[in-house]
């Protein structure tokens, strides 16, 4: 029996329309029969004769110069078909967001003269069998000179930190700025008006997507030279376009087939396996599979970024927040991937669902010698929400105001100007707070129950 949460139609009654045939009804999932019978076809459930396998030799260092790469022993392993280095990658330097104009291309498909994180791919081995590919990858010999590594976002930002990026800064440059900025009102004036100032620091560790199906693809060369990419990417054309650019081949040479994914959560938008599998397939003219092991999925696929967030709030004794200043640091790890975009998304989310007249934020996308992070469910927002909502709780306690009333006092409403200068509309924070309070029997005074998102808050003018 389907478990369905009730819809409370008493809220926003006049805005809700009805009279639909199938919208708003619980129709069965069209994919469920395939799932329960084992017939749903994931990319790895297709078989191809003469399938070859790709495995990677990865950096043993956090940050090092590569002095030598010796592939001779790898080539001799029985079953090894090709050993692929950066020289085999037509356009080795890329960044996935170049499709929407993000620069520079800061990541190599295969490392050239240096590595920026432990686990960075250096050599790919394609072989008849998975075992031969693993053996071949293990026999690659790389000579390194270790370089000083940076592991902390604030250390990376300091002027005396070693610069690890070719572009010359350990942070993504947003149109000349060291951070994505939010400047709204006058935050210092807000602090001057405030009765109380509260400033705290929050942080998080990286988080794995941990989908049950690991990232992977099978590339099958066609008679006409085109390559069909069977993949579990979250974005078919995004993968196609990025792969074609790396292969330096016409976009029409590639065909992506996918759409059935064993969990993504943001971890399958990085275009990590398709380019090398295509190169291997083109070089061997055989179908090639490149799929992450569980260890690779955990260790070298991008995690959710570790973040560090400082929030300083100026608050009046009656509970109104009059100024909020946020310093946010996203640990992008060694390469950009989707982090410049996620950091902007974080900026647009600040200062949370509250109307605060003076907001100042610097959201930094910082490079370190850690595993590159990238998109994950709630990108830019999940950790910020942890910080903001912890902050709200602490201030409410410090002012001895009920935590829900404190939120209602500051809740954004229709017509309010957000810090990124977009007029709020369709807001409903007040109502979800009121409804959640009712769910748990948390009493709210009549005047708070009478609040509505669609009527402007006079307290804030």
């Amino acid at each position: 029996m389907a478990r369905v949460n009730p819809i409370d139609g008493e809220f926003f009654k006049s805005e809700r329309t009805s009279g639909f045939n199938v919208i708003g009804t619980t129709v069965p999932r069209s994919d469920a029969l395939g799932h329960v019978t084992g017939r749903t076809e994931f990319f790895e459930d297709r078989t191809f004769p003469d399938l070859a396998h790709v495995k990677i030799h990865r950096s043993a260092y956090h940050h090092a110069r590569i002095d030598s790469v010796d592939i001779s022993e790898a080539s001799k392993v029985p079953g090894v078909l090709r050993v692929i280095t950066y020289k085999d990658v037509p356009a080795n330097w890329y960044t996935v967001l170049r499709l929407i104009g993000i620069e520079p291309n800061d990541e190599p498909v295969l490392a050239e003269d240096r590595v920026l994180y432990a686990g960075e791919p250096i050599v790919a081995v394609v072989a008849d069998s998975e075992a031969a590919a693993i053996e071949g990858a293990a026999r690659v010999k790389v000579g390194y000179t270790a370089l000083p590594a940076v592991f902390d976002v604030e250390e990376a930002m300091s002027p005396d930190a070693p610069v690890i990026k070719q572009a010359g800064t350990n942070f993504f440059v947003y149109e000349g700025h060291h951070a994505r900025r939010i400047r709204f009102g006058d935050v210092e004036e807000g602090f001057a008006q405030a009765d109380r100032i509260f400033e705290w620091r929050y942080s998080s560790a990286p988080i794995e997507h941990a989908p049950t199906e690991t990232t992977g693809c099978v590339v099958v060369p066609q008679a006409d030279g085109r390559l069909i990419i069977h993949t579990n990417t979250q974005a078919a054309f995004f993968t196609l376009d990025n792969t074609a650019l790396i292969l330096d081949r016409p976009f029409t040479d590639l065909r992506v087939k996918g759409g059935t994914v064993g969990g993504g959560f943001g971890g399958k938008v990085d275009v990590m396996v398709e380019p090398l599998a295509c190169i291997a397939a083109a070089l061997t003219n055989r179908p090639v599979k490149f799929v992450y092991t569980r260890e690779e999925e955990m260790q070298v696929s991008s995690p959710r970024a570790a973040e560090r967030i400082y929030i300083k709030d100026g608050v009046l004794d009656d509970g109104r927040i009059v100024a909020r200043k946020i310093m946010l640091y996203v640990d992008a790890g060694a390469y950009s991937r989707h982090s410049p975009y996620g950091t902007t998304k974080a900026a647009a989310h600040l200062p949370g669902p509250y109307t605060i007249p003076n907001v100042y934020a610097d959201c930094h996308c910082v490079y370190t010698n850690r595993t590159p992070s990238s998109a994950m469910r709630g990108f830019g927002v999940t950790i910020a929400d942890f910080a903001i909502e912890s902050q709200m709780d602490r201030i409410a306690r410090a002012l001895d105001i009920d935590p829900l009333r404190f939120r209602l006092i500051n809740a954004y409403r229709d017509g309010d100007m957000k810090a990124h200068r977009k007029v709020a509309s369709g807001t409903a924070l007040i109502e979800v707070i009121q409804r959640a309070a009712a769910l748990v029997g948390h009493d709210l005074p009549e005047e708070y129950l009478a609040l509505s998102s669609s009527t402007p808050g006079e307290a804030r003018s």
Partner: protein
């Protein structure tokens, strides 16, 4: 490398395949017999996506060498439905919205089938324990536990009806 002939009764049908010492039961099913229901989620026995029944008991087939189970009976998700008629567990998973991405589903269902075969009226604790080796990253488990509860009730009702 010694290649051996392995005989298995898979979903009631006799099968033979050539297996190397390192060929796992999972690879034997998927790559030799074309049964793709069991999934490779970790190849370490930790995610349960490859769960099948070996002589009636649930096993993670990625850790079982095929040559070690010569002569065994193997049950996979492909053998549950009778034509287009789903098993009670399969039906309960569909009706209960107990699937999202579907990757863990075949293994989860095989663990549930094994449980209900030996325990027709499991408590929630027993259900939890039975699927504790099956990782699901999407559903939060509650709909799965609920579906197994529903399937158990359906099975008991039809068993009573037969008496």
């Amino acid at each position: 490398m010694t290649v051996k002939i392995v005989n298995l009764k898979v979903n009631g049908v006799d099968k033979a395949l050539m297996a190397k010492p390192e060929t796992t039961l999972l690879l034997a099913l998927r790559e030799h017999l074309g049964l793709m229901g069991a999934k490779r989620g970790c190849a370490q026995g930790a995610c349960g996506s490859c769960t099948v029944l070996l002589d009636g008991d649930p096993v993670v087939s990625c850790l079982v060498p095929a040559v070690a189970v010569d002569g065994a009976e193997v049950g996979t998700v492909e053998g549950l439905a009778d034509g287009r008629t789903l098993s009670d567990v399969q039906r309960a998973f569909v009706d209960g919205f107990a699937t999202q991405c579907g990757f863990c589903t075949p293994g989860m269902i095989m663990s549930a089938e094994a449980l209900l075969e030996r325990n027709p009226d499991p408590t929630d604790d027993e259900i939890n324990e039975a699927i504790s080796g099956n990782v699901c990253r999407c559903t939060g488990y509650e709909p799965i536990v609920s579906a197994i509860r529903d399937a158990a009730a359906t099975r008991r009702a039809s068993a009573e009806a037969r008496v």
